[in-house]
């Protein structure tokens, strides 16, 4: 028996109800207002909600547009985003999210389309998606691309499922071992585990590169059951490993598939292609390399590119299509409405611009490494003493010799108006810096100046000018309330606390709170809006 379903929502008007009657009943003499006056609710009596909700003042205070506008401004003013300063997070690729890229996502043609609208109404989306898939294939050297995974982690999961599907289709159901170098991001082993694979960790050498001897041994040991290797390129240590082709070859020789994690793709577009140098599958982070903004922690898009042999195992998008892998996201094309951002980026940059972006990303990282190398130790470099698109500063010697921690440096950067680099990944006690191609030389210099000034403050602790428990680093960040407090008993001046560089007097970010106590919060877990009484005193 065929049925028709009708769902009503906030946008439905009374004229729509009348139109629906016309469609379903034909001619009728119904009077909507009369029915609305007498019709009974259709919820089961014992399921009618009786308890209150959203009683907190936050949900009962900002109902005029003026109040709402100011509340949103007040919150935004507390934060650092790319509209204030560079965010040099290694592995995160915080590049420009250009206005022209953002404009189309709110065009009604894109924003008001239902995911299950009939095929003949979605031609624009399909054309844009087809073009984008081709563009991304061209950029990576893969044969096919699925845009369904709506986060990088989902891409990893979908990519491993494709590998699993491939092995199963060949009767190799026993191929379930996944090799993962110890330097991998934690999502790699987590994704492998979710796909029912056994993770075997392979070693890295002192330079942070995959230990090829260990890889050979483990690939041989697990040859019979080898499913895949998951390797990040350039490595999580920010280096183009010379041995990548050999790594891919070893795994292929033992019947495994090569998963190249595309987290660092921003160092590769236009200069090398994972789909060509040995990868069978990669996920891309469109929210890194291809300009989708981070949104404070999402949305993301994590498409996967695959070689021809894996295409049938890509996530299913439509019934009866060529792609017959399992569906990983609720919607066929995942986060479809933000795909125009990437389309716009690639369209505007073109072949030359994309390559230039990669080259300047590498230039910016090497320029910073060069400026900072007299003050901090650059942990890893490649064959020619260069880094890739990011670099790791080793601050463990500072901790060992002076007692100032990576946390102290990260929090002190806030006083200088910067978001900290990535802390303690991939190596504990280090800072990983990725400037991206979008930051100007002036901004790179401003950040380097801050890092060098901080090193000078470290030296002031080292030479005894400041005590380890009373210096601008361990007490960072400094709030306006602290700096303007009536009492000041610290060993350093108020101006050193707030304006350690003169340039800050023109443009100062004031952190709204001092350094967070994580342990206190985990011991006293509160995960909803606290009563106003906590703000008293």
């Amino acid at each position: 028996m065929q049925s028709t379903l009708v769902s009503i929502d906030e946008t439905t008007g009374t004229e729509d109800i009348i139109a629906l009657w016309g469609i379903l009943l034909g001619e009728n003499s119904l009077d909507l207002d009369a029915l609305a006056a007498e019709v009974a609710a259709a919820l089961p009596d014992d399921l009618i909600r009786t308890d209150g909700f959203l009683t907190h003042p936050t949900f009962n205070s900002f109902h005029s547009e003026t109040e709402m506008l100011r509340y949103l401004r007040k919150l935004a003013d507390k934060d650092i985003a790319l509209d204030r300063a560079m965010i040099p997070l290694g592995s995160c690729t915080m590049k420009l999210n250009a206005t022209a890229e953002m404009l189309p996502i709110t065009w009604p043609e894109f924003s008001n389309m239902h995911p299950f609208a009939p095929h003949d109404q979605t031609g624009g989306y399909r054309a844009m998606i087809d073009e984008l898939e081709s563009m991304l294939c061209a950029a990576t050297g893969y044969d096919a691309m699925s845009l369904q995974p709506n986060a990088g982690s989902q891409g990893e999961y979908a990519g491993l499922l494709a590998i699993r599907g491939y092995h199963e289709s060949r009767g190799d159901t026993h191929r379930t071992v996944c090799l993962i170098p110890s330097s991998a991001h934690g999502t790699n082993p987590a994704s492998a585990q979710m796909c029912g694979m056994q993770v075997v960790v392979t070693k890295c050498d002192d330079q942070g590169n995959v230990d090829i001897a260990d890889l050979k041994e483990k690939a041989a040991t697990h040859s019979e059951n080898l499913a895949a290797i998951m390797v990040t390129y350039p490595s999580t240590h920010g280096v183009f490993e010379e041995g990548i082709k050999e790594i891919c070859q070893i795994v292929h020789d033992h019947g495994g598939q090569v998963y190249i994690d595309g987290a660092n793709l921003n160092a590769m577009v236009g200069v090398c292609q994972p789909g060509k140098f040995g990868g069978d599958v990669s996920h891309l982070n469109l929210h890194k390399t291809f300009c989708i903004p981070h949104g404070g922690g999402g949305p993301g898009v994590g498409p996967i590119g695959v070689g021809k042999h894996l295409e049938p195992f890509l996530p299913k998008e439509v019934e009866g299509g060529d792609r017959r892998g399992a569906q990983v996201s609720a919607a066929p094309f995942g986060s479809a409405s933000i795909l125009p951002i990437t389309w716009m980026y690639i369209r505007m940059m073109g072949r030359a611009g994309l390559k230039q972006a990669t080259e300047v990303a590498i230039l910016n990282a090497n320029y910073m490494a060069n400026r900072l190398q007299d003050h901090y130790q650059v942990l890893y470099t490649g064959a020619n003493g260069r880094v890739a698109h990011e670099c790791i500063l080793d601050v463990r010697p500072i901790k060992d010799d002076v007692g100032i921690s990576v946390d102290d440096i990260a929090k002190r950067l806030i006083d200088y108006g910067f978001h900290a680099p990535t802390m303690s990944f991939p190596v504990s006690g280090t800072l990983m810096i990725e400037p991206t191609e979008s930051e100007s030389k002036a901004e790179l210099d401003r950040f380097c100046d801050a890092m060098i000034a901080i090193k000078h403050e470290v030296n002031q602790v080292a030479n005894g000018e400041f005590q380890l428990d009373d210096n601008p680093l361990v007490s960072a960040p400094h709030t306006a309330a602290v700096v303007t407090g009536d009492e000041w008993t610290r060993a350093y001046t108020r101006s050193q606390a707030a304006y350690p560089l003169d340039s800050l007097r023109d443009n100062k970010y004031w952190p709204p709170v001092g350094r967070l106590d994580n342990v206190f919060g985990d011991r006293n877990l509160v995960c909803s809006c606290p009563p106003m009484s906590v703000y008293e005193n």
Partner: protein, 424 residues
């Protein structure tokens, strides 16, 4: 300034955007290169990228173009989308994004260019916005705690299944799924279950019998029916299984909450709280549960703590749960969530408040009931006895004609072959 003569091609500035996107000017690049002892970008790149893998050919991508041209081309492509009024539902609903939210959050780089709040001292604004979201979810679902968003309703359901398997004391490997669940949710559940060795049974929960470590119930169902699941939840829990309810966020304004019905986990999407349809995403999914399961709640969780001066301050709580710490012992690989969309949905609730939400929910419900009553008076009785916003109508052989008549008026209805989703 001395004016030099330039060609038209030069003045067209086709590479305009490249120089807007790339930070250092050509002169600055030269200066930086000279610091590194390189003559040009190619020389530096050659020192960095191993020769064995370096591309020798150009990318097979067309040349770039200025912003205005790219926008015009995309406009043309977008014009091939025909946006009809949607009555399709199935987990995705029309919604009105308050303009003040669209302009000041969705279109505001202060919100959309921010990073995940790992550095809480510079993230208090978005952390407060997220705790608003968590409060909204825990209030509406009647659960003790909510995380700060999931990727979508389907993955939230799959994660809930995994949570049930870890936390339930049942030894069963069976997960029971209400046949009135959204079809895409059932698909994503099956994807996740297969490699984990979980046996998924899709059936009418009224027929629940035997053992299962968990059950997923849709509230209201995909058919629109609103069922009282108290007895079934009790039955599942009596044999040590856990109960998950996939609940429509707007309906919870009028309906008893999953928590009050005894559910262990509530999941769903907050799309219809001001987040545009967008052909399926991105939208913020949600998951809420009992505090007892806090260490098994996937995704990010914002909590209150205090700063060095003893003042209240927010930060991500219980981070040791996450995959970057637990690696292969991790139970979920979730990293990126849907923060921007969760912020929008939370602010939709802030903007409307409980009374505004009640007005919206009651209006949706009243219009649905008026539609149903008009149909009933003319002999077309919905097959669902109760509803919040969705009616199932047995239209039989007339179905195709109805769908076509609707399309002529630029309206989309949902058509199903009842057998496929297990209705009678």
């Amino acid at each position: 300034m001395l004016q030099k003569k330039r060609t038209l091609a030069d003045l067209q500035n086709a590479a305009e955007f490249i120089a807007r996107h790339v930070g250092p000017s050509t002169e600055d690049q030269q200066q930086m290169l000279s610091v590194l002892g390189c003559a040009n970008l190619q020389e530096l790149t050659a020192q960095v990228v191993p020769e064995a893998i370096a591309m020798t050919e150009d990318l097979a991508i067309v040349d770039g173009c200025p912003e205005a041209q790219a926008l015009a081309e995309l406009r043309e492509i977008a014009s091939h989308n025909k946006v009809f009024k949607s009555f399709i539902g199935q987990g995705y609903y029309g919604t009105i994004t308050p303009n003040v939210i669209q302009r000041n959050i969705l279109e505001n780089p202060a919100w959309y260019t921010a990073y995940t709040p790992y550095q809480p001292e510079i993230s208090q604004g978005r952390l407060e916005a997220l705790i608003n979201f968590q409060t909204m979810i825990s209030d509406l679902t009647g659960m003790e705690m909510s995380n700060s968003s999931m990727l979508d309703e389907g993955t939230a359901a799959a994660e809930a299944m995994a949570l049930c398997q870890r936390m339930s004391k049942s030894k069963s490997s069976r997960f029971f799924v209400d046949s009135d669940c959204l079809p895409q949710t059932i698909e994503v559940i099956k994807t996740r279950a297969e490699p984990m060795g979980i046996e998924v049974e899709v059936a009418d929960p009224a027929d629940f019998a035997g053992e299962a470590f968990g059950i997923l119930l849709q509230y209201p169902g995909a058919s629109g029916e609103v069922r009282d699941y108290r007895d079934i939840i009790g039955k599942v829990q009596a044999q040590k299984g856990l109960a998950v309810m996939a609940a429509d966020i707007l309906s919870l304004v009028l309906l008893e909450s999953p928590g009050s019905l005894g559910a262990d986990v509530a999941i769903g999407t907050t799309q219809r709280f001001g987040v545009p349809l967008g052909f399926g995403g991105p939208h913020a999914g949600y998951m809420a549960t009992r505090e007892a399961y806090k260490r098994n709640l996937p995704g990010r969780l914002v909590g209150l703590s205090q700063d060095a001066n003893g003042n209240p301050a927010y930060r991500l709580a219980l981070q040791t749960r996450e995959q970057h710490i637990r690696r292969e012992k991790a139970t979920s690989n979730i990293c990126t969530a849907q923060v921007l969309l969760a912020v929008i949905a939370g602010m939709y609730a802030v903007y409307h408040g409980p009374e505004g939400l009640q007005r919206i929910a009651q209006r949706v419900h009243l219009l649905t009931s008026v539609l149903a009553e008009g149909l009933r008076l003319n002999g077309m009785v919905p097959t669902n006895k109760h509803w919040f916003d969705t009616l199932t109508l047995h239209t039989g052989s007339r179905t195709d004609a109805i769908i076509k008549a609707a399309a002529e008026r630029e309206m989309n209805l949902r058509q199903i072959d009842a057998e496929h989703i297990g209705l009678d």
